[in-house]
C-alpha cells in the first residue's frame, strides 16, 4: 500500500511565504490571546491553590455546588463539570492563596456531605502552596530551557560538526543566564533573554541547522500554548511534560528532513538549494505522514478513552503533532533557505564593494 506515490514533487518551499504568513499569524494570535487573558492560564501546580475532584450521585448545577460551599466560605470557587456523560463529576477550584490552604479538601467534602447527603466521593485533592507553585514554575521553565540548550548543542555539533562552536554557545549561554539571574530577574524574563541569546548565537556562529530547529520548536510550543489559551485549558505540570514531548517529536521530524537535505546536498551538487530542499521534503513525505498518522491514532485513543485526568495532556500532544509536522516542512527547512539567501547576498555585496 502507498499513500504517497514515489517521485511526487510538491513545491513546498515555493509556498513558504504563505506558510510564514500563517505561522506568524498564529503566533501573533497566541500573543494577543495571552495578553488578553492576562498571561497563561496556570493550573494549581503553578499558581497555587486547591483543586478538588468530587463525584456526586446525581446531576447538580454549578450554582447548587456553590450554594453548598457557602457554609465554608468557598462560594467564590470555580466549578467545572468534568469527565464523561452520566458521571456527575465536578472540579472545584479555589484560587485564593491568602487563606489557609491545608484542610480545604476536607472542608469541601464536609460541605458537600452536609448538603447532598451520602454518595459524595472525593476522588482527588491537589493543594499547592504559593511558594511551591512558584518553585514548580521555575523548575518547569528551566526544564524547557535546558532541553532547548542541550538540543541546540547536539544539533550544531552533529549536523555541522561544530562541536567546539556549540560548546562555546553553551558556555556563553550559561554565562548570560548566570549574570542575568544574579540581577534577580524573574525566570520568565530569564528564559526569554536566554532564547533571544540562543537565537543570536546561532546566527553569529552560523549554526543554521540549529537555528532552524530551534525556531521550529519555539513555534510549536508557542502555538500549543495558544491552543490552550483558546480552549481555556489549564497549564499543569503534565502539560509541561507534553510540551517537552512535542519538542522531542517536532525535532525528530525536523532532523529527518535535515538529514535528507544534507545527504542530497552531497549527492546533487549542481542543483539549487531550493530544489534539493524540495526533493528532500518530498522524499521523506511518505514517512512523515505515516509516523504522524500512527502517533495520532494512539494519541486520539488516549484523548477519547484515556479518561478525564489525562485529557488535556493528550490534547496538547495532538496539537503538538499537527504543528510539529507542519513546522518541520514549512518552518525549519525554509529558514535554512532564508539563511543561505541572506549570506549569499552579503557575499555579493562584499564583492561589489
Amino acid at each position: 500500500m502507498e499513500f504517497i506515490k514515489p517521485g511526487i514533487n510538491i513545491d513546498f518551499i515555493g509556498k513558504r511565504k504563505i506558510a510564514f504568513a500563517l505561522s506568524i499569524m498564529m503566533i501573533i494570535a497566541t500573543i494577543i490571546l495571552l495578553i488578553w487573558k492576562g498571561g497563561p492560564n496556570y493550573g494549581v501546580d503553578f499558581s497555587g491553590g486547591v483543586l478538588v475532584q468530587a463525584k456526586l450521585d446525581q446531576k447538580r448545577s454549578p450554582a447548587d455546588l456553590k450554594a453548598a460551599l457557602k457554609s465554608v466560605q468557598l462560594q467564590d470557587s470555580m466549578i467545572q463539570e468534568f469527565g464523561e456523560e452520566g458521571q456527575f463529576e465536578y472540579l472545584v477550584r479555589v484560587r485564593k492563596t491568602d487563606i489557609e490552604l491545608t484542610g480545604i479538601g476536607d472542608k469541601v467534602k464536609q460541605a458537600f456531605l452536609a448538603e447532598f447527603g451520602q454518595g459524595v466521593e472525593i476522588r482527588r485533592i491537589e493543594m499547592v502552596g504559593p511558594k511551591v507553585g512558584e518553585d514548580l514554575r521555575q523548575k518547569a521553565l528551566f526544564a524547557i530551557f535546558y532541553a532547548i540548550l542541550f538540543i541546540a548543542v547536539y544539533i550544531s555539533g552533529r549536523f555541522e560538526l561544530k562541536w567546539l562552536m556549540s560548546i562555546v554557545m553553551a558556555l556563553s549561554l550559561t554565562f548570560v543566564v548566570y549574570v542575568t539571574s544574579s540581577f534577580g530577574m524573574s525566570v520568565t524574563w530569564l528564559i526569554l533573554i536566554a532564547m533571544i541569546v540562543t537565537l543570536g548565537l546561532c546566527w553569529f556562529l552560523k549554526l543554521k541547522y540549529a537555528l532552524g530547529a530551534i525556531i521550529a520548536i519555539i513555534h510549536d510550543v508557542t502555538i500549543t500554548m495558544g491552543a490552550f489559551a483558546l480552549t481555556d485549558r489549564e497549564i499543569s505540570l503534565a502539560i509541561i511534560a507534553a510540551c517537552l514531548t512535542i519538542v522531542g517529536y517536532s525535532l525528530n521530524d525536523t532532523i529527518i528532513v535535515f538529514d535528507r537535505i544534507r545527504e542530497n546536498l552531497r549527492r546533487y551538487r549542481r542543483r539549487t538549494f531550493e530544489d534539493v530542499m524540495n526533493l528532500s521534503i518530498n522524499e521523506t513525505l511518505s514517512r512523515t505522514i505515516l509516523t504522524s498518522t500512527t502517533t495520532m491514532v494512539v494519541i486520539l485513543a488516549l484523548f477519547f478513552i484515556g479518561g478525564s485526568v489525562i485529557h488535556d495532556f493528550a490534547f496538547a500532544i495532538i496539537i503538538g503533532i499537527i504543528v510539529g509536522t507542519y513546522s518541520s516542512i514549512f518552518v525549519a527547512s525554509p529558514i535554512l533557505l532564508i539563511w543561505d539567501g541572506t549570506f549569499a547576498k552579503s557575499r555579493k555585496i562584499n564583492k561589489a564593494s
Binding site: R124, K139, N252, I256, L290, V298, L302, F313
Partner: protein, 533 residues
C-alpha cells in the same frame, strides 16, 4: 552476517526470557517459593496517581527551632549569672540572631566575657560601647551553629513524623528530606487522608504551666499582663451547635514540665462517663519533677497546655508521685488515639506547614489504570492493523517489534524499580505510536532501494544502513528531552520521563537489531525472492 545469525537469535531469546522473568512478579500474585530465592520478585511500582494515596510536602519552620534554642540558652545564661552573682538589667533574645545582655556593673564585664567564652562556644561575644557607661553585650549566634540547629530540626521532625506514621499504620510509607527544610511524604493507599494529615502536621508540644492566681485575668486581658505571665486560651467546641468558645487563662510563662519526659501514652476509657482519655507515664526524671511540682503547689491549679492551647487546668489535690497523669477532653475514640500517638512519638522540634498535598482516591486510580490500558489496547490494535496493511509481511515484522517494545518497557520498569504513573502510561502509548517510526524509516528506505532496481538482499542492506544514522539522530534528541524531564520533573512527570526514555531505547533496539534478524532469516537463509513491503 548469516554466520552470526544464530548468535543474534540467541541474544534476542535471552533478552526476551529475561524480560519475562522480570515481569512475572507483576503479573501473578502467588509466585512459587523457589522463585523468590533466585529470581527477582519486585513488582512494577505503581505511582500514587494509579494506586491512590497521599503525597505531602511539609515545610519545617526551622527558624522557630532556632528561637526555641536561643530561649533555652537565655535560661542557661540566667542560671550562670545567678551562680556567679552577676547582676543584669536586661537579658533577651534578638530574633534568631543571638542574645542581648546588659549588665548592672562595669566590673562584671570581664568575668562575664570569660564565662561566656568558656560556656557558649556557639556565640561570638561582642561588647557594645554604650555611652551610658553600662556594659552591654550582644551574643551573636554563629551561622554554622544556626544551620546545624536548623538541620537538626528537620532531621528530628522527619524522625518524629516517621514514628507517628508507623504507629498510625500505613504500609510502605516513603518519607524523605528535601532541600529548603522540606520533607516529602508519600502514603500509598491511605484511607483517611484528613486524619493522617492532622496527625502529621501537629506540633504536639505538651507543656505543664502553673496558673497565676495572684493576678486577675480580666486585668491582664486589658493589657496589664504581669511580668513573667502570659494569656493562653482554652478552646471548646460544642458538639451540638458547633459553636466555639474561648476561655482565657493567665499562666506563668515558665514551663514546669514538658512532654519530652513521656515514656508512654495510652487511650483509656473513663468508667463513669464512658469517654476516652489519654493516660501518660513519665520517665523517672519526669516523675521526680512532677512529684516536686505537685508537692509544692497543692490547692493551686496546674494547666495542661497542648500546642499553646489550654487543655485543662485542674486543681492539684495532693502530691502526685508515680509519674502518671491523664489528659481528658471531649475526645472521640480516634482523636484520643491520635493524641496518644503524637504524645508517644514526641513533639516536633518546630512547627511544620503542609505546603503541597495531592490525594488520589483509590477508585480514581483504578479508573485511570483501566482507561489508560484500554486506550493503549485500542490505539495499539489500530496501529498494528495499519502497519500490516501498509507494509504487508514487513509490517507484521514491525508489529512483532512493537510487542517486544511494550514487553521491554514493562520489564524495564520492573528492572530499574521505576514507578509507573498515569503520564507514564501515556508515555507508553506515545511510544507505541512513535516507535514504529524507526521501522517506517527503514522500510521507506528499502522501498527506495527496491525502486532503484536492487535485489531484496541489497535493498535490505542499504535500507538499514542509510536509515540508521537518521534514526539515531532523531531518537537522541527525544532522549535528551526525556532526560531533562527526568532531572527536573517530580512524581507523575518523572514517571512519564522514565517510560519515554526506556521506550526510546527499547524501540531503537527492536527496530535496528531485532527486525533485522527476521529480515536476514527470511531473505538470506530462506532466500525469499520477493520482498513484501
Amino acid at each position: 552476517m548469516v554466520k552470526s545469525l544464530g548468535w543474534r537469535i540467541a541474544i534476542i531469546l535471552f533478552t526476551i526470557v529475561a524480560a519475562f522473568i522480570y515481569l512475572t512478579p507483576s503479573l501473578t500474585d502467588d509466585l512459587p517459593a523457589w522463585w523468590s530465592s533466585i529470581l527477582p520478585e519486585d513488582k512494577i511500582h505503581l505511582g500514587l496517581d494509579l494506586q491512590g494515596g497521599m503525597h505531602l510536602v511539609l515545610e519545617v519552620d526551622s527558624l522557630k527551632a532556632v528561637e526555641g534554642h536561643l530561649e533555652r540558652v537565655v535560661e542557661e545564661i540566667k542560671r550562670d549569672l545567678r551562680k556567679n552573682k552577676i547582676r543584669y538589667m536586661e537579658l533577651k533574645r534578638l530574633g534568631t540572631d543571638g542574645i542581648a545582655l546588659t549588665l548592672m556593673r562595669m566590673d562584671d564585664k570581664d568575668t562575664f566575657s570569660d564565662l561566656a567564652e568558656a560556656n557558649y562556644p556557639d556565640f561570638e561575644i561582642r561588647p557594645l560601647d554604650d555611652e551610658q557607661k553600662r556594659s552591654a553585650f550582644h551574643l551573636i549566634f554563629l551561622p554554622k551553629a544556626k544551620t546545624h540547629i536548623m538541620k537538626m530540626a528537620v532531621d528530628q521532625a522527619l524522625e518524629t513524623i516517621r514514628n507517628r506514621i508507623d504507629e498510625f499504620g500505613v504500609s510502605e510509607p516513603d518519607i524523605r528530606p528535601q532541600e529548603n527544610n522540606r520533607i516529602l511524604i508519600q502514603l500509598p493507599g491511605i484511607k483517611e487522608p484528613g486524619r493522617a494529615m492532622a496527625l502529621i502536621g501537629r506540633t504536639a508540644l505538651l507543656e505543664f504551666k502553673l496558673v497565676d492566681e495572684e493576678h486577675s485575668v480580666d486585668e491582664a486581658l486589658k493589657g496589664n499582663i504581669p511580668p513573667g505571665d502570659e494569656i493562653l486560651y482554652q478552646v471548646t467546641t460544642d458538639s451540638k451547635t458547633g459553636r466555639q468558645s474561648k476561655i482565657p487563662y493567665l499562666l506563668k510563662k515558665r514551663t514546669v514540665l514538658t512532654g519530652e519526659y513521656i515514656t508512654d501514652a495510652k487511650v483509656q476509657i473513663d468508667n463513669q462517663f464512658n469517654e476516652p482519655y489519654v493516660s501518660l507515664v513519665f520517665d523517672s526524671r519526669g516523675a521526680k519533677l512532677f512529684t516536686e511540682i505537685t508537692g509544692q503547689n497543692i490547692k493551686k491549679r496546674l494547666a495542661i497546655v497542648l500546642d499553646k492551647k489550654v487543655n485543662s487546668a485542674p486543681v492539684i489535690q495532693d502530691k502526685i508521685s508515680g509519674g502518671r497523669a491523664q489528659i481528658t477532653g471531649n475526645y472521640t475514640m480516634n482523636e484520643a488515639r491520635d493524641l496518644a500517638i503524637v504524645l508517644r512519638a514526641g513533639a516536633l522540634p518546630a512547627p511544620v506547614k503542609i505546603i503541597e498535598e495531592r490525594t488520589v482516591g483509590p477508585s480514581l486510580g483504578k479508573d485511570s489504570i483501566e482507561k489508560g490500558f484500554k486506550s493503549m489496547l485500542i490505539g495499539g490494535a489500530i496501529v498494528i492493523i495499519f502497519m500490516a496493511l501498509y507494509y504487508g509481511l514487513s509490517g507484521v515484522i514491525a508489529d512483532l517489534a512493537l510487542f517486544l517494545n511494550v514487553l521491554f518497557i514493562m520489564a524495564g520498569l520492573a528492572f530499574f524499580g521505576a514507578t509507573l504513573t498515569l503520564p507514564g502510561i501515556a508515555g507508553m502509548i506515545l511510544t507505541i505510536g512513535m516507535s514504529v517510526d524507526a521501522n517506517v524509516l527503514i522500510f521507506e528506505r528499502i522501498r527506495e532501494e527496491l525502486r532503484l532496481g536492487k535485489t531484496p538482499r541489497a535493498s535490505i542492506e542499504g535500507g538499514y544502513g542509510k536509515a540508521l544514522v537518521t534514526i539515531l539522530d532523531a531518537n537522541i534528541t527525544t532522549l535528551i528531552a526525556a532526560l531533562v524531564l527526568f532531572q527536573f520533573g517530580t512524581g507523575p512527570v518523572k514517571g512519564f520521563a522514565v517510560t519515554l526514555s526506556i521506550g526510546i531505547i527499547a524501540s531503537l533496539v527492536t527496530a535496528i537489531f531485532m527486525t533485522r534478524i527476521v529480515f536476514d532469516y527470511l531473505y538470506d537463509k530462506r532466500r525469499l525472492k520477493k520482498i513484501s513491503i
